[in-house]
């Protein structure tokens, strides 16, 4: 009985760590530009596809991940520069629709570049399952959780210790005031897109051995990441991480104890409940503060 529960928890935490990374990307961009970037899933896809195809053609794994990261950052900046920035006077809804358009476009391009088939990336440290009190997990799960933890701490330090990080935070609190004290808001938006693209790409590379990579892998991961971000309170970094883990564990418990047919429904029931009863999420600031 306990082993069963532990197994569900381990599965949930692994998948939750992936959602957390995606959710964090949503939060960073939302903070800087108040745009919900639905192309976040595509950044994950770029990271996964690039690392899988590059390693297959002989590039060492760390270099492949770096290249994937760089590529995703470039794409992120291009999306910000040519799609979001050009429409900056448009309403938020329009901007969101633009990012959906960008995500469809990116998927199409990826299909042309990499083809439609699934790519395999070998697990970073073997595939011998690790046994814990009767439950078991893939070593790659540790990589996912570990990478997520490191990135989350690094992002936290970036926001609290570096000038650029503080500039992004300042912009999120008050765009006009930030501009008045000399922060180049446009560059902050570009930096936030690059940052969340890099986060997504690293996430994509570490999850690829578990999920396989293909051009449409970003759709579901993006949606679940969005759920995580909303659950934690949009724009709240640690909240997004908690949200991701909660969604992942809830899904695994739902599939295990209720019915596997409703696994995906769990995440969306959560998001509906959150939007109805606590629109600011678990940790979000109350809406009035934003006036």
């Amino acid at each position: 009985m306990f082993a069963e529960l532990l197994q569900y928890l381990l599965s949930g935490l692994t998948i939750g760590a992936i959602y957390a990374l995606a959710g964090l990307g949503f939060s960073i961009i939302y903070n800087a530009s108040h745009v919900i970037n639905f192309a976040q899933g595509e950044f994950i896809m770029i990271g996964g596809m690039a690392s899988a195809t590059l390693t297959a053609s002989g590039v060492p794994l760390p270099l492949a991940i770096l290249i994937g990261c760089g590529g995703a950052m470039l794409v992120g900046v291009l999306v910000a520069k040519f799609a979001v920035e050009r429409a900056r006077n448009a309403s938020t809804v329009t901007l969101i629709i633009i990012t959906i358009g960008a995500s469809i476009f990116l998927r199409g391009v990826a299909e042309l570049v990499w083809g439609k088939d699934f790519k395999r990336l070998d697990a970073f440290s073997g595939e011998t399952p690790i046994q814990i009190l009767g439950a078991s997990m893939q070593p790659q799960s540790l990589w996912v959780v570990g990478t997520a933890a490191v990135l989350i701490v690094a992002i936290g330090l970036f926001f609290s210790r570096t000038l650029t990080g503080k500039a992004i935070l300042a912009t999120s609190h008050n765009r006009l005031a930030a501009q008045l004290v000399g922060i180049d808001v446009k560059r902050v938006v570009l930096a936030s897109f690059a940052l969340s693209a890099a986060l997504g790409a690293v996430g994509g590379a570490v999850v690829a051995p578990i999920t396989f990579s293909y051009t449409e892998m970003g759709i579901m991961l993006g949606l679940k990441g969005f759920t995580a971000a909303v659950l934690g309170g949009l724009g709240h970094g640690p909240g997004a991480v908690a949200g991701g883990l909660i969604v992942g564990v809830a899904e695994a418990l739902g599939a295990g104890y209720i019915s596997s047919a409703y696994k995906d429904a769990v995440a969306f029931v959560i998001i509906l409940a959150v939007l109805l009863f606590m629109p600011n999420g678990l940790f979000g600031k109350r809406g009035t503060e934003r006036v």
Partner: protein, 387 residues
């Protein structure tokens, strides 16, 4: 004088027309055989439709270079429905009404096929589908035939193998896709007939990245003696990896939906020991010389791989079988009269194709028996025939 010149010209022209008219006679005999095709060469089902399209074009070309069928060239018209059933319907309409085809091959997916069925039934055009589900030929529809094996046969083959191993209690894990759902229904039905007890009936999402929760339930089900997974694409590979991760010791069966090298490549070492029913094409090199399919599948594999430099798939084979059955029927019926052609397709007997030996009849518009499936096991990263 002038008038006589004009009349001479007129006479010459008339003669010329008469002569060309006479020439039209033999030309009419060499009128092309119009084969229409609707495949999903792009879109989500492109991994099925793309090889199908390539095979149809390749073989139409080869047949024409070799002099056609009874001296008549094959004129192939291929439309790509992009995986959308409504497009498949409108292309079928176009094939029947504007292109005036004699026979239609295609409908990559069951949905596309079923969208085309009412149209071909009404117009009375022979139609050979390349899609899997049983509903296409059960109940029998006058003008509709199909080449691939059904999910029902896959379930039967798996249970036959289970019985041979003395296993009677099966845990089912099916995908929530059309293929998986239909496979689940057939498995439930066949299990009843064959006295196999279904002790677990779990599902997973086609895009799930982790199914350990469902597998943990199966693992803790003390009654289960074997596990059958019904799905397509990457899902079954994820299941296989999770299965090994949890260290489940029961025999694992997959459906014919993963009978391509891609599955082994994705699942890697985890696929070792997995059994599944597959067409002879998949194990062409391993078939004994005595197998009637041996020459057909080895030739087809070689032709395909030489032409496209990529691995042959069973789906490519379905298209080959569809085209060959249609042209064989043209030969036997001595023309392209649609009603006679239909009857000739229905009378197909002992045609050896990539899917197996096809013998159709008024009550069987697929014509394959369980022998068409070979039970294969993954050994050292390759298929190996289970003897």
């Amino acid at each position: 004088m002038r008038k006589s010149l004009l009349s001479t010209i007129a006479a010459t022209v008339t003669a010329a027309i008469a002569v060309s008219g006479a020439l039209m006679g033999p030309a009419a005999a060499a009128e092309p055989i119009k084969v229409g095709a609707i495949v999903s060469a792009t879109g989500p089902a492109s991994f099925l439709g793309d090889p199908e399209k390539k095979v149809l074009e390749l073989y139409a070309d080869r047949i024409n270079k070799a002099g056609g069928v009874d001296g008549r060239p094959v004129q192939l018209t291929v439309y790509d429905d992009g995986g959308a059933a409504d497009k498949a319907a409108s292309f079928t309409k176009r094939l029947i009404e504007s292109d005036g085809v004699d026979v239609i091959v295609g409908g990559t997916t069951t949905a596309a096929t079923m969208a085309a069925v009412p149209l071909v039934e009404r117009a009375g055009v022979p139609f050979i589908s390349l899609a899997g589900a049983v509903v296409i030929v059960e109940p029998v529809k006058k003008w509709v035939f199909k080449t691939p094996h059904t999910d029902r046969m896959a379930a039967e083959k798996v249970m036959e193998d289970m019985k041979a191993r003395g296993l009677t209690k099966l845990a089912l894990l099916s995908e929530d896709s059309g293929f998986g759902k239909s496979g689940r229904e057939q498995t439930v039905a066949v299990a009843k007939e064959r006295g196999i007890e279904l002790v677990a009936d779990e599902t997973y999402g086609a895009k799930d990245t982790d199914v350990t929760a469902q597998l943990t339930k199966i693992k803790n089900n003390a009654a289960a003696q074997a596990v059958l997974v019904f799905g397509l694409g990457q899902g079954p590979a994820v299941v296989t990896k999770n299965y090994r991760q949890l260290g489940i010791a029961l025999p694992l069966y997959q459906s014919h939906g993963v009978a391509s090298k891609e599955y082994i490549r994705l699942a890697g070492g985890a696929a070792e020991g997995v059994r599944l029913p597959a067409a002879g094409l998949v194990v062409a090199a391993q078939l004994p010389e005595s197998d009637p399919q041996k020459t057909v599948v080895t030739d087809f594999t070689k032709t395909y791989e030489d032409a496209f430099k990529s691995e042959v798939s069973t789906f490519a084979g379905h298209a080959y079988d569809g085209l060959m059955i249609a042209l064989d029927a043209v030969k036997r019926s001595g023309g392209t009269d649609k009603a006679k052609l239909r009857d000739a397709i229905e009378q197909t007997k002992g045609y050896v194709g990539t899917g197996g030996t096809v013998t159709m009849g008024p009550k069987d518009h697929m014509g394959l028996t369980l022998d068409a499936f070979h039970m294969v096991e993954v050994k050292q990263g390759d298929w190996s025939l289970v003897k």
